[in-house]
Structure formats: C-alpha cells, structure tokens
Symmetry: C2
Subunit: 906 residues, 2 copies
C-alpha cells in the first residue's frame, strides 16, 4: 500500500491528480468499470448518467483519496479543494440551484461507496446545505414549510450523530437527540414524529443545536462548505471505524481499498403523495423468477424504507402478497412505467439482475443506485440459466455468475430463513447442514430413541469409535471438545451429517443427562438445533427445509464440466458415500481413509488385539481377522466407483487413537481381551505421545510394522482381483501417507508391490495399480524430485501440510486463530482457505520438482481445501490434475474449477 | 548407486575395466590417494611399495568390484578371473614361489579393506593355498614340520569358520573346531595348543575336514584357486553381514561404498625365535607424546597380537612399563633399527602419526599395514602442535587434524577409560559428561544429601520446575520419561550437567524409593553412574576423571579463530553459563531463553498467578512482580557478556508448562493462590493441548497477551539502560519466537519498539538494540523475504524447524527414529545432525530470501545443531553469520568453523 501511495503522491507533484469525478445531466467522467477508483455506487451512478438514466447530479471523491487521506495522517492534498469547488458548480448548473443560496439552495447527500458494498457499516449525511437561512429558501421553493423544517431538523440530528459523533456507541448510552425528540413530542402532546407542527420542528432544531453546543462545545456549523468538509471527513473516518474493520476482516475485504465519497444533489420522496421512494430487484432474488420485484413507501425519504419504520408496499402485483396492498403501479402508473423501462434498460445494459433504489419527487422518477443484486444459490442458478436462454449472456458468463461456495445451501438441509432462532452457544462449524432434534447424551440412547422414530441430537464431550452407531442414528452431533479434525468432525463429514464440535461453552454432565450454557440448562429430551455451517447451537426446534436440486442445477453443472480442465474426485470411505459423490459428479476417489473402517463393530476388537500383541506372530493373527473385513470394504467401494480410479490411503493415525481412554472402557477392553486392566493401561501408556500429530503414524507405522502394510495391500489387491474376474473395471491407487523421505516410500512400495504381484499371480488375472504418496510433510515437498523417483502420483494432504508448514495444530489453534483473523494477521482460517503464500508455495515447489523427475506425474489434492473455491482456483493455476473433496462439496469444486479456467482467460 | 553401477557396467562393456591392482616388489599400480577405489589398506600397501618399504607382494580387488558384485546378484564380470590370474603371476614372480606348487607353494592372506577401517567387522582368511600336498612343500621349505602343519590346521579352521560359515553366530552355538581342539588336546594330554605335536596337528586337520563334510555336506576344497574364490566371496559377503550393516549405520558409513579385497603373500612371524609380529604407533596415541610406541609378540602370527591370547611385549623402552619386560629393540636390534627407519620414513611421508603392523620372518622385517593412527582428543592436539613445530605440517593442516566432535572429551568429566562398567540400561544422551553418585528419588532429598556433602544422582520419572534445586544439587539427572527437549534435558544442558533422559527401561517407584531394571533393583543410596554422552546407566561408582586443558588447546583454538569466518555464540540463560561460554571463546549470546528464568523460586508463583488471572488487570499485576526479577537476570547476563551482543528470546513455551500436573502439587498451588482446587484444575484443563509443539506458544502468546511482551521488553531495556548509565556496553537483540507470518512479527515489533523507546527516553540514555526473529516454522523460511522487511536479524531455531519440516516430534520419535537410522532410512538422528537435504534447504531458502530484502541481514542458528561439526560446516557453506551452541560446545564450533573454511578451500 505504502508504495502505491508514494507513487500517487509523486504523480500529484507533477500535475494535479484527478480526485473528483462528476456525474449527472446525461453524462459522467467515470463509468461502470471504474469501481476500484469510484466505488460501486459512484461507478454505477456515472454509468447510469452515461446511458441517459435520470440521476440527480453529483460527484464522487475517489477511493484513492481515502488512502492518501490516511497516508497524510488524516489530511488532504491541496488540490482537492479546488476540484470539489469545480464539481459543485457542475451540480449547480445541472440542477439549477446553488449550494448555500438563500433563495434557491442546492442540498446534497454525502455517502460512502466502497468497491464492495458494506451495508450499514459506514456513514451517510442527508440534506446537507441547510442552515437557518437556506431552510427558508427550501420552504419557499417547495411551498411546504413543514417539509423544509423537517428536513432541517433531520439534517441537524444526522450531522450531530454522524459528523459530530453524538451517536450512542453502546446500548446503555442515551442519544441526546432522541431525548429531545421525546421531550418535544410530550410537550406538543403528540405520539409520532409526523404529528409535529412546524413550530415543534423549529423548536427541535433549536434544542438540537443547543445539545451540540453543550456536548461538543462547538456551534453547529451554519456554513454549508464547513458542513460538507465535515461530512466528507466523517465518511472517510468511518472506513476505519472498529465495526468497519471487523466487517472487512470477516468478509476478507482488504483494508487498503478505502472508500469513495459520493456527494449528490438531494431529491425528495417526501414532498407529498405524488412523491415516494423504493428499492427493487429486476428479478426475484430468492427464487430467481423473472419478475420485477420491489417495495416502496409513499411520501417518504429513502432511509425510511431501509430503516423499516413504516411497512413498505409492493411496487407491483408480482410483489404483492395480499389484496389490501396498494402497488406503485396502481397509485403512480406513470412513474412506474418509467421505472419499468429503466429496470429493463439497466438489466440489458448490465446483463445481470440489478438491485435498484429510486425516488419519485413530485411525479418525477430519479434513480439513486443500481448494483448487481444479491441472490440465493437457487436464484443465481435460475437467473443464470434464464439469461442464457434470453441470450443476454453466454454459458461461460453464466458459470461465472454463481458463487461456488453458495451451492452448499442447495446440498444440505437448511434452516427456514423465516424461522426465529435462539442461539445459546457457538462451536466450530465442523460439518455443514442444519439439524434439529431432542438432546441425548449417550450413543446407545441415540440409537434406541432413533429406532422409536425420534429425531435426536447426540451431545458428547468428545466422541469415540464406540459412538459410531449413535452418531449414525442422530440428526446431528454436538461436542464440547475437539477440533475440526476430531473424531466427531471427521466422521460426521464422512456421513454428510451436521456437526458442531469443540463447543467449549457447554458444560455437559453425563450423570444428570444435561448440559448447561450459562444459566440455560438443556436436559435429555429437550429440543435443540445445530447449524453445522455457522457452528451455532440453538434452543428449541428450528424448522429446516431441504432444498431440491432443479434441472437448472444440472444444466449449470454440465456447463461447468464443459469448461473445467481440473478433475474432481471425492474423499469417501464407504460405498454409500462413494455413491453419493458419484451422483454429484465425482470422477473417482481421491482419498479413501482405511482407518475409518477399523472403528466399526468387531473390527475395533481385532485392531486392539493387534495393538496389544507383543510380537509379530500376535499381530499377524489379529491382522488376519481384519483382512476379510477390509477386503469386503474395498469390494463395496470398487463396485460403487466401477471404472473410476480409487486412491486408498494406508493406515494413518497413531495407534493410540484405537484404544479407549476412560477406565471403564479400558476395563471392558481388558475383559474382552482376557488380560489385566494393568496390562491395558501399561500398553496405552506406552502409546502416549506428546505431539501425536508429529508422532508414530502414517508410513512410520507401516515401516515398523510391515505386516500392517502387507495386510492392507493384500486386502486391496484381493478385492481388485476378485472384481476384475467378475468383469468389474477397477483402478486401485495405493497411497502411502506421511512420507518425508523417499526411502520411507521405497520401503513401503517394495512391500506393496511384492504383495500385489503375489496376489495378482495367485488370482491369475491382471490388475493395473499405481503406488503413490501423500505430500503432507514440508520435507516431502522440498524433496519431491527424489520422491517422484518412486511415487507414481502425488496427493497433497493440505490439512497436515498446513499444520506443519505453519506450525499450527488444528485442534489447538482455537485459542488464537480466531483472534488472528480478527486482527488481520491472517486473512482467513488456513484450514478452510488454503494459505497460498506459504503452504501453496510448497504445493507449487513439489509439483514442479515432482514433474521434473516424472513428466506425467499425476498430482492431486485431498485436503479439505479441495472443496473450497479459492483453493480450487489455486490448484488449477498451479497445474494440479485434480482436487478431491467430501461428497457434498463435489459440485462446488466442479463449478469452482470451471470458474478458474474462465477467470484465467479473462 | 544404481546409476553409478550402470555407468560402470557400460564402461566395462567397451573395454575391460581394471578391477585388480598389484603392489609389492618396490612398485605398485595404485597409490595412497586411491582409498575410495582400493580401500585404506590396499591404497597404503601400494603407497608403501612405491616408496620402497618392504611389503609382501599382493594385489587389491577394488571396492567397485564389490558394488558390481551385489548389482549382479552376487556374481562377477567375466574379466575378473583373468585379471586375478595375471596378478597372481605377479606375486609369484616377486615372491619367488608358486600358488599351488607342491614344492615351493605361495601362500596368501585374503583380507577386506574398506575406505574406512571397520575393525573386526569383516572377514579374513590366512595361509590360503595350503592343502594336503602343499603343506609338505611348506614343511620342507621352512624346515619346520610343526610350523607347516600348524599353519595348515589354522587355515582349515579359519576357512571353515569364515568361508563355510561354521563360525558360531550366537553365544550358545558351539564351534565344531573348538570342540575338536578340546578333544585332541585331551587325547594328547596337553593343556595348550603350543604343546601339540605334529601328529596331533595332522589329526586336527583330518577331524576338521571331517567336521566340514559332516556339517556342510561338502569336501574341504583342496584346489587353491577354489579356496581363493571362496575367500573372496566371503569377504565381499561380509560387507553385508548384519553386524557390518549395523556398524556402518552407527558410524554413518554409506552402504554403497563397498569393500576391497586384498590378496597378499603370507609372511610368518611364527617361524621361530628370530620371527615375530607387532603393532605400533609412531607417537603415543593416548597422550600424543613424540615417542615410538608399540607391542610385539615373538614367534607369533599377527592375529595373535590382536586376539590377545598372549600378552604382548613392549617394542622399546618408551613403551615399557616394567623392568621384566623384554623389548624388541633388545631382542632383535637389527630388525628394530629397520623398523625405526621405516616408521620415521612413513611419518614423514604421510606427515601424520601412523598406526603400523609388521612381521619379522626369520630376521627380515615386512610391513603389513600403515594407516593414520586413531588418537584421543588430547593426543590429537599435542601431535598437531608438535608437528607444526617440527615443520612437518602447517597450521591449517593442524586445525584439520583434530576431530571437532572429539573435543567434547576434553571439556566434560569423563569416566576413567580403564574402569570397569556394568551397564544396566540405556536412555537418551541428553546432556554430556559423566556423573556418579548415590541414587535419590526426590529433589528435596537431593538437596539435603548434597548439603551433607554427598554426591547424588537425581532419579525421576520426569522433572518439573519444582525439581530445579535438586537438579542443581545433583551430580547428574536420570529420567524415565521425556526426550531430548524435556525439562530435565534442557535444564541439565543449561547447567552443563550430565543427564540421561527418557530411559524407559527403568521402572521407578517413588513410594519404595527405588527403581528396577529387569531384576536389578537400585535403592536410595545405592551408587550409580551416568554417561550423558552415550546415555548409559551403570551400576556402582565408576571413577571419573576431569581432563585438563593444555596450552596446546589454546594454541589450536587460536589457529581456528584465525581461519574461521563464522561467528560462534552460545546459548546461555544465566550469568554463570554466560561466563563459562565466554571463557570458552563465545562471541556473544545467540539464544537466551527467558522462560527458564520463570521457573525459579518465587517466580513460578508469579507466573502461575498470571496464568490464573481472568483479566488483563490481574495479569498485569502478576507481571509487575516478575519485572524486577527478569530485569535482574538481564543485568547479570549483560554484565557477563559486556561488549558482546546478547540475543534474548521472548517467552516461548505454552503456558501449561508452568502449571503442575499432579494433583498434590495442584492442591499446593490452590492453597498458595487461595483458590479452589477445582478452579486450578479447570484452568489447567483449559490449557491442555493435543499438540503443544504446534500450539499456543511463541509469539502467539505475546499477540494474545501483549502485556507479557511489554513486561519482557521493559525488563530487557531497563536492564540495558541501567548498565549503560554505569558505563557498561550492552548490545541487546530482542528475538520474537515462532513467527510464521510477517504480520505476527510486526505486531510484536511494534510493542517492543514502543516500550523500548519509552524506556530509553525515561532513562535519558542511549541504547542501540535490534529486533529480529527466530526462523523455526517452515512458512517463515518460505516467506523470509517478507519477514526480513521487519526483522533486523534471523536466527534459525533448527530444533523446531526440524520437527515441523520433517513432521517429527522429537519427544515421540524414539518409537521409530532409532529403527530408521538402523535401516538406513535416515543417515543420522536429524535432531543431532542437521538434515541438510530438507531442513537445510529451508535454511538456504530463508537466508537467500531474507538477504534479498535486507542485504546486511544478520543470520545465525541457535538450535542444538550449532555445536555439531557437520552442521557447523553447513552453516558456513550457506553463508550464515554465526552459530550458537551450548557453552561446552563453543570450542567444538570454533574448530569446526575453521575446518569448514579450510575444507572449502581444498
């Protein structure tokens, strides 16, 4: 930023830089593609002027000025003053009024306008230019004393609040103007503002000014120019108000963009019943239906619509919901006709659905704003498809019009947007979707109640493999501990089930079968609702709706597939998940985690037997029990993915994840295994690790216990051979996890190939298979040229790669990561959005080095980032072959991959 | 390796490659600088031949042949046979005898010879060429029937053992030849071998052959050529015997070097009293004294000296330790004179102390081997200095002659090499040195017993801050749990105190005040001894000696300083350590860990108070108590390092390291703090982390709790200002730990600079200070260009950088890392020897990127690698400014740094 500004200043030194852009009167200095400089509002006001749409004249002070203002320690370059003066003259000329003139005063609004709309975040001043003298001119000119004095008292109040900073900042603060208003209304014996007489309004102005004097020790500025500079400063200042900074952090808007300031002549919707103001969408923003849709208020200023003080009326029949409602079309047919012509012109001009604001002053329609309208995912899809049919846009543009991340809305149940919610706590958004049900605290209870047809939410401090059945039976899972990679989170995502994890605020008592949040207690059987996308925990039953996938959805996906070059696979561990993903368009499995298969039913027993074994023989015996089960899993998955590649990762987690950590369960395990509790405890103790993330896991297990690798390779290859003989096309890709050094991979590859060749020979068939590795340790990325000598494919495990590259434990980062994002130290949670600067650098290095050694190396990504649009775009850019993500994110990845291609061609 | 061999094979395909090199008869095909190809022994035999020293003629089969042999699946290229035949003819010509001739048989020895000596690891066959016919020729020729038959029976036995693999592999196996020997001795009614008559020897040969037939089903090969090929195969085979592989792993010798085979004509030291054999050093290998030093046996074969069956005699008076001993000089003055001339010639020729083997056959002296003699650190230093004085070598060569790692011997107490040791367990060599004392199990007991003047060893499962006093009082520390970075290890290294950590084999009972290892119990008061350099735990009192530093040591260090360009600093946290390091030549402190100051006495109370505080005010109050204590620490350290830079790292460990984890101590803490145990537990629980290594630590603490950074910055700068005013020159360098993103550093730097400027202003003085960062997270290395925009210096924390780059938890890697090194997956423990390929790559990247941004960026390393010679060499090579290591390793680093310069110029 600093550099840019310096450059700007230098330029300025040479010749006066243009900081102010005019619009109105059928032409403008700017146009719509100058959003970065003029802000969204300013650019569109200019554009509307250019295409002959009636816009009150005005000028825009650039966003660049905002940056310079802060760089100059809240001062302005000299030339600004002259430029503003010139532009004001331009407005005066177009509007036929004069700023500060006692007879024919020009009044202006002063509004912010950033590149991207930040609704409600920044300040606005209306009716600027009024003072004790010009108010009289306005009264005379409008022939309406009350209107003029009402405008004046509004201005003084707004100026006091915004520019002079009297707006209360906390709920307990008192707004001095509200107090005065209440007094005056009481004195006048009226209940509402509109009943106040002219004299009451004059009294208000007087007392408002006195309040300013009292609180701020200054007189209310009568000089319109002084007023203007104050307002400009307030708008620039509001860019760095706390709430604006927070909003930008949350919405990932760079802090150095700055805001523009729009100074525009006022038009009034409150000049009587032939006046009004409204907002509208050129199509329905909820459904996408091609119908003009909006609301208006008669005899009102624009802010009244937004403020919601009066209930607005529908502008036309398609917006109307009851017979009693009067539409703008009915009441003011002429301006409505003009509005219709304008919205059609705008939509055609912008070739997108517009969100517009208008004011009718004494029968004349003025446009105050147009911008691309926000819409739901469903609407986005419908509008995109319709506009292609209307030949307004082409397919490529249509693909770019849909927010990939938004698709999530369509794929999971969601809460009815109209429903009321009482949020009692917030945890980590561990697995998306919405769920509602009765709280239960034990997996068994969840299963039995679900069997009775009840909807339940399983609430646990943490979940463990024993809880799988209950998790499956529940609508959603809520845990007090554990992060985004905790057992609960990972299993829930695999199941496509809603989960809120690590909700530290809830205090669970298993004994009392309840949890407490502050003073609120939730007992077994009480209804709660979970939002797995926001992490919110709500009391009571919040109704959910399940969006349906339309034919348009399929059309958009087809277009996306036409343009994307990046493959999209899925992370799936079961035949069911595989099928779901395939239905969503997955082109293979990019990550099948074999350890999840170890948790179910009898298997965990065999796994524990293996762990407990003191020697090779004992381990082999236990593994022999697992072999047929694993083989069965693979048969199911291979069948579901018939003809598509399936990447299977060998056992990854440290062995202590398979043993119980509570004494009662340890005793159970001891009884089952027929050994002493002491022995169990001793073993579990010996497995303890200080930093399990960096511990004895991944290929390190297979190297120390080659018999595990052997068993898994055999299960995979026996399954593959069996199906191959049945005529099913299978493409196994065996993936070795956590490799940091090529010799580790060589060791494991030797075992896998030996077992595979043995198995194929024995089965007397032919199966093509590949052996490759995860790249998830920085050292693997740095030595990828060596690793590619052995690996036939790479798959970036960006979850672990992020943890190690950034030195961040995902499960522990909750203590500081949210603050980091708030403070702007990190732009986003790197576990959600790939850190392209650091982790991405390693992805690029590894891809390049790997392909130096093996030109046709297949490279994919199987971390959670594989379903996050900006990360998918990155993967496309650095030349990966595919991304792999959870089944429900497959459509998102497909769309994002297409958008990546189209954006790069732009 | 594979590539190399292919190349070798290709060459071979063109023209016959030379695999066999002759020597003897005053000339040779090879020379001393061909060690890689001919092995050490072969190259030196060739060299001796070339300079006219009498060497029995022979030939060397190259190490390359060994590699080809394994590549060809234990087969030989065709041309080898012809080359060997030709070379055998060469020997026959020089020695005037014929291989396999019945009248004048040539006998040969077949020995291994790798690049680097691997004593006792590989196989040797002597007297080869004997059979039922040639033995008669030998008898006739030597005029000594007994000698000939003794040679024959030895040969059969050796051949059976080595080539036919009858040597017992385990202790319980029985050597068939030993059994037969015992029988025959019994039958002959004699007790020792030398008493056996010719007929007995003949009987032995017969029975030995029968045993071979019985065990192996084959006849003993009478054909000398068959014998020769068998022996060659045995030598090559022994290269990949388990013990040889293990030896190479331990000594970091690459497995693809291969061994050469030396076939040399036999000479006999056992042909009567005018014959003998011996080994000698050209100077004293223990002290370095310039005196010829060696032992011999009269009428014996070479192996007898090594085997230690008979006690050898001194070769001269300077070797003699008693009057009774007869020296070679006295008994055979003529050969001794020749030997003297030869050793002088050799030392002059090689310009280094030589370790030689010789045989005198009937008065004629033959040299069998010369090689650079192994020596103690003390000897290495004395010899280097003496040789410079003698003008034999220059200073640079002298500096290169001393093993930097060996210096450790001189700097810590060590066990008397002559003492007997009963090793009962082995742990991690956590802090070097030797310690002996009575076992105690509680820190309090250690303190009180030490106060009584007793020497104690503190034995704990783990240590914690409460144990500091006891650790200080103890001679050494032994823990059952925890790794090289455990509390015990880190604190002990800081104290320069011997520590063996993570000794899992010992089972400690605090209740019974004892530990058990298998069946051995060690009770309180029992003597034990610890070797902190090997990790050995010994029963009883093993006497230690404290080596003295000689003037020569100073001379060598002076030379080292003259040539090195890399700075050497120290890691020190106390004035005492700082002083020790300064005395050892440290040029500043590269890492002063402030958290160690937090553990002592009252401080830990204040730290815990801070942790327990629920709000900023509470934390500030507690920190205010710590401020004067920290300031005091810094004053002490600054004073000790007067004029030298002191790099102080801000608080690094996660807060849970400061709270007790056992309930009794938690109760104590609760009582002290006046809060409930419940509250303490809750707090400790909330601090728990799954992967503390990647958790809330380093600058992440200072960002969330800026008041900690403020306090520390203030303590540092107040100390600096105070001393500056007293005229003490201080150079504080404030180091922010665990930075991964430049904005983190910016955040902390802002705080530090603000506090520093305030403090300096208040003190009305001037202090120059720097603010920099540790580079210990891969992302920091990858974004070093950005980080250098803020950091004034970098210091690589290679401990953490290794953990994250390799995804290896140092404390947990014990489960697989030793196996990795054994299996050759890793060349060395990357926590001891810097992983140059992976971690080193990041060090290079970061240094380069950092200096792109800031040309004069000061870059150092403060991980434990800073004191490891090969890592120091790496740091020099990639252009770091300094290394920093523990005080006792400073001289090692100085020497290694000088050697790095000298090696790079070679």
């Amino acid at each position: 930023m600093a550099k840019k500004v310096k450059k700007a200043e230098k330029k300025t030194a040479g010749k006066a830089k243009k900081y102010v852009y005019n619009f109105g009167g059928g032409k403008a200095d700017g146009k719509s593609d100058m959003k970065n400089l003029l802000g969204g509002k300013g650019a569109n006001l200019a554009e509307m002027s250019n295409i002959g749409i009636p816009v009150p004249a005005g000028f825009t002070i650039t966003t660049e000025m905002c940056t310079v203002y802060y760089k100059m320690n809240r001062n302005y370059p000299k030339e600004l003053n002259a430029q503003i003066k010139t532009s004001m003259t331009h407005i005066e000329k177009v509007m036929g009024a004069k700023f500060g003139d006692e007879d024919n005063p020009l009044l202006v609004s002063v509004r912010s306008g950033a590149r991207i709309s930040m609704p409600g975040m920044m300040d606005t001043v209306l009716n600027l230019g009024l003072n004790d003298k010009t108010v009289l001119g306005l009264a005379a000119q409008s022939g309406n004393d009350r209107f003029a004095w009402d405008a004046y008292r509004r201005f003084v109040q707004m100026y006091g609040d915004v520019v002079l900073d009297l707006k209360p900042r906390t709920k307990t603060d008192i707004d001095p103007f509200e107090e005065i208003m209440d007094e005056v209304k009481k004195e006048a014996g009226v209940k509402s503002d509109v009943e106040l007489e002219v004299d009451d309004l004059k009294e208000l102005v007087k007392r408002f000014k006195a309040a300013i004097k009292e609180r701020k020790g200054i007189d209310f500025p009568e000089d319109p120019w002084k007023q203007l500079w104050g307002a400009i400063e307030a708008v620039f200042g509001s860019w760095n108000a706390d709430r604006a900074i927070k909003y930008r952090n949350i919405n990932k808007i760079p802090h150095d963009w700055g805001t523009a300031v729009n100074v525009q002549s006022m038009v009034y919707g409150n000049m009587g019943d032939d006046s009004g103001t409204g907002v509208a969408f050129t199509r329905n923003p909820a459904t996408g239906e091609r119908k003009f849709y909006g609301e208006y208020l008669i005899n009102a200023q624009g802010e009244d619509v937004v403020a919601g003080i009066r209930t607005p009326q529908p502008i036309n029949t398609s917006t109307k919901s009851s017979k009693e409602q009067k539409t703008l079309e009915e009441i003011m047919p002429k301006p409505y006709k003009t509005l219709e012509a304008i919205y059609k012109k705008l939509e055609k001009h912008y070739t997108d659905m517009q969100d517009i604001e208008f004011t009718i002053q004494k029968g004349k329609l003025w446009m105050l704003q147009t911008r691309t309208g926000k819409r739901t995912a469903a609407a986005a899809i419908k509008i995109a498809c319709d506009m292609v049919n209307e030949k307004l846009i082409d397919e490529k543009t249509a693909v770019l019009r849909i927010g990939a991340d938004q698709l999530d809305q369509l794929l999971h149940p969601m809460f009815d947007p109209k429903a009321e919610k009482e949020v009692i706590a917030k945890g980590l958004p561990a697995s998306p979707g919405a769920a509602t049900g009765q709280a239960v605290f034990h997996a068994d209870d969840a299963e039995s109640l679900a069997a009775e047809g009840k909807k339940v939410i399983l609430v646990r401090i943490e979940t463990s493999p024993e809880d799988i059945g209950g998790m499956h039976a529940a609508q959603g899972i809520l845990t007090a501990k554990g992060g985004m990679t905790s057992h609960a989170a990972v299993v829930a995502r695999g199941m496509g089930k809603c989960c809120v994890a690590g909700c530290g605020a809830i205090d669970i008592s298993y004994k009392d079968k309840q949890f407490k949040v502050g003073k609120t207690a939730v007992k077994e059987g009480d209804w709660i609702s979970l939002d797995g996308s926001s992490g919110e925990v709500m009391k009571g039953l919040v109704p959910t709706i399940k969006p349906e996938l339309s034919g348009n959805f399929g059309t958009v996906m087809k277009w996306a597939d036409k343009y994307r070059t990046l493959g999209v696979r899925t992370n799936a561990d079961t035949p069911k998940d595989s099928q779901v993903a395939r239905d969503f368009g997955a082109e293979g499995i990019g990550l099948c985690r074999t350890e999840h298969m170890f948790f179910e039913g009898d298997r965990i027993k065999a796994v524990r037997e293996m762990i407990l074994a003191d020697n090779l023989e004992g381990r082999r015996k236990a593994l022999a029990k697992l072999l047929p089960m694993q083989k069965g899993d693979f048969i199911g998955i291979f069948k579901a993915m018939k003809g598509l590649p399936v990447t299977i990762r060998l056992l990854d987690p440290p062995l202590h994840e398979f043993v119980p950590h509570e004494e009662a369960q340890q005793q159970e395990m001891a009884d089952e295994m027929g050994v002493s509790l002491e022995k169990i405890k001793q073993k579990i103790n010996s497995l303890h690790e200080f930093n399990p993330m960096l511990g004895h896991r991944g290929c390190r297990l297979g190297i120390i216990y080659p018999e595990i690798t052997e068993m898994q390779a055999r299960a995979i290859m026996e399954a593959a051979c069996e199906l191959k003989k049945q005529g099913v096309d299978v493409k196994p890709e065996i993936m070795v996890p956590l490799v940091g050094e090529v010799k580790e991979l060589q060791n494991q590859t030797d075992i896998i190939r030996r077992v595979a060749e043995e198995t194929i020979k024995k089965a007397k068939t032919k199966v093509k298979y590949m052996v490759g590795t995860m790249i998830e340790i920085p050292r693997a990325a740095l030595t990828a040229d060596k690793i590619a000598e052995v690996a036939e494919f790479f798959s970036f495990g960006t979850n672990d790669l992020t943890q190690m590259t950034m030195g961040l434990s995902r499960d522990d980062s909750g203590k500081f990561l949210p603050a980091y994002v708030d403070m702007g130290i990190l732009k986003a949670d790197p576990f959600q959005v790939l850190d392209q600067t650091g982790v991405g650098q390693l992805v690029e290095i590894a891809t390049k080095k790997g392909r130096q050694t093996r030109k046709d190396l297949k490279v994919g990504i199987c971390g959670e980032h594989g379903g996050e649009p900006s990360s998918v775009e990155f993967c496309h850019r650095v030349g990966l072959n595919y991304v792999s993500c959870s089944p429900y994110r497959v459509p998102i990845a497909r769309l994002a991959a297409a958008q990546a291609v189209l954006k790069s061609k732009k």
